[in-house]
Symmetry: C2
Subunit: 324 residues, 2 copies
């Protein structure tokens, strides 16, 4: 989980990122535009994406100012998708505060998201090394994130989707941007195509593994230590890695069991599903999938010279070894 020194270093980075976010070039007189944007950005985000850009770029001696600008761009892109996704998904709370469309209204939230995305592009426009490559990497990733969200929206009304569709969706929706965050470090550090592609692959698998773990923790973690409301995926009957492995393994049995589960109160439903996932080896398969994906991520880190890999390895462990 990282040494005290490393954790302190991440705290320092997080503060630098928050400081940079406060200095965005928004005109102060257009407050009806600015306020929802600043509100969205002051939420308690973990800033793992810009931290990843920083650590990856630092391993290749990239310019620190470039790394801040690129990292801010990635963080803004992430926040733009959160503001819009919360409208689309009807989510009311984000980063411990009301979502923008709740605090204001939908038009204000649509516009705030749009504005945050433009600010992301402007921040990206301030980098001085590898600008064209960075621009392409960034916007190709943005397109994938949108595609992933479209798949996610579509999955809600499509009972035919399988585990592979789901894995493709999370790779686009979550993996793509972490891949971009890591790849930008290589681009800004003037690394060749092969190194940049490996960093991208590292970030994508890290994101995928993170998301698979999130699905597992959502139903299996200790409710008191899990920040978000436990079992909300179960309540909304969202497809997750667990439900899709269950379906893949034995569709008839899973159909029967999930119909039974639906009749139970939420607490009983959670216990019932936990037991089913445990006893049929579904939890184990999901954990194995997370581990394999994490291993692929770690392998891709091999392109970073061993003497400079420490921080990225500590970061990877920190992301993947959380228990809640």
């Amino acid at each position: 989980m990282g040494t005290p020194d490393f954790i302190e270093h991440l705290d320092f980075l997080r503060k630098e990122i928050d400081k940079a976010l406060k200095k965005l070039p928004i005109k102060k007189n257009s407050s009806e535009f600015e306020a929802p944007i600043m509100y969205a950005l002051k939420g308690k985000g973990k800033r793992i994406r810009p931290i990843l850009t920083h650590l990856a770029g630092k391993a290749f001696e990239a310019d620190p100012e470039d790394l801040i600008n690129a990292g801010i761009a990635v963080e803004l892109l992430h926040n733009f998708t959160l503001v819009h996704d919360d409208i689309m998904d009807g989510d009311l709370i984000r980063h411990g505060q009301d979502a923008v469309h709740v605090k204001w209204d939908e038009p204000a939230a649509i516009l705030a998201g749009d504005g945050i995305f433009v600010l992301a592009q402007l921040s990206l426009g301030r980098i001085r090394e590898g600008t064209l490559k960075a621009h392409r990497c960034f916007n190709e990733s943005a397109l994938e994130v949108c595609e992933g969200q479209a798949m996610d929206l579509n999955f809600a009304s499509d009972s035919e989707i399988g585990l592979n569709d789901y894995l493709e969706m999370i790779e686009k929706k979550t993996g793509s941007l972490l891949g971009c965050a890591a790849q930008l470090g290589g681009i800004l550090g003037s690394q060749d195509e092969k190194t940049c592609e490996s960093l991208k692959s590292y970030g994508r698998n890290l994101g995928k593994a993170f998301q698979i773990q999130d699905d597992i923790l959502e139903i299996f973690s200790d409710p008191e230590s899990m920040g978000k409301s436990l079992g909300s995926d179960v309540l909304t009957e969202k497809q997750t890695v667990l439900t899709l492995i269950a379906k893949k393994d034995n569709a008839t049995e899973w159909k029967k069991k999930s119909a039974e589960a639906r009749k139970l109160q939420i607490d009983d439903r959670l216990s019932f599903l936990r037991e089913y996932f445990e006893q049929n080896g579904i939890r184990m398969k999901a954990s194995l999938l997370a581990e394999q994906t994490a291993e692929e991520a770690r392998t891709s880190l091999g392109v970073v010279p061993e003497s400079r890999r420490n921080e990225l390895e500590a970061f990877t462990s920190m992301i993947l070894e959380r228990k809640n």
Copy 2:
């Protein structure tokens, strides 16, 4: 209004632009993401922004492929704002077909707009000359367009706004992108700062003059030749150049008259307001404002060498001399 040759040339350009829009790099397998985007782009847009980029760039011998890519970026940015604005404003029809949020739903329309904006950035990323300047010009303009839309949304619930606020709003919401379209021609044609700034100023004033005229035509044009529903601003009591000049000239009288107007059926209300605007010189003042703004636009065109100014002048006249 342009010679037959010029009109034919514009038709040719429009077809080239439509062709390029059909070749956008969207993955064909993600149809739930792609379909609303392609639908939004196949509407009967006039494509005046990419045409402007083309004509401005051609005057400075910019690379034609760069001009197509930059023009497509501007057209996509325009369409992104239309898709989102239609949600925010509750508009149901766009370019002669159902708006995206009507044909699909709000989540699909939010995502389609986001996707179109990403495609705009990717198209911009394909230009080879003046990339950094083009990127900055483009995204600064995008930010202004968002600010303008925020002002417009805010104005609906703010009776305190005056003529100058309104002119600032339309300069941002409409002028800014036409300014960017023209400026990109100069940037891609490797022109100096002064020339690029003049082109920007030309486009901004062209957009402003266009919008002022639009407000006038909305209430004064021949209903049969006006494409959009005549008097819809009156019906929704939207602030326009005419209502704001009326308020500025005589606030008490205007308050009284607009209260009277509100009691009338729509046809009578239109006639009543037309008469008021005519008799009190309000229509004349609005027309004068449009003409002065158009004149400022034409003056800025002075930076283009006289021998290459023809097409831009014909284009300006075509935009500003429409009667409906």
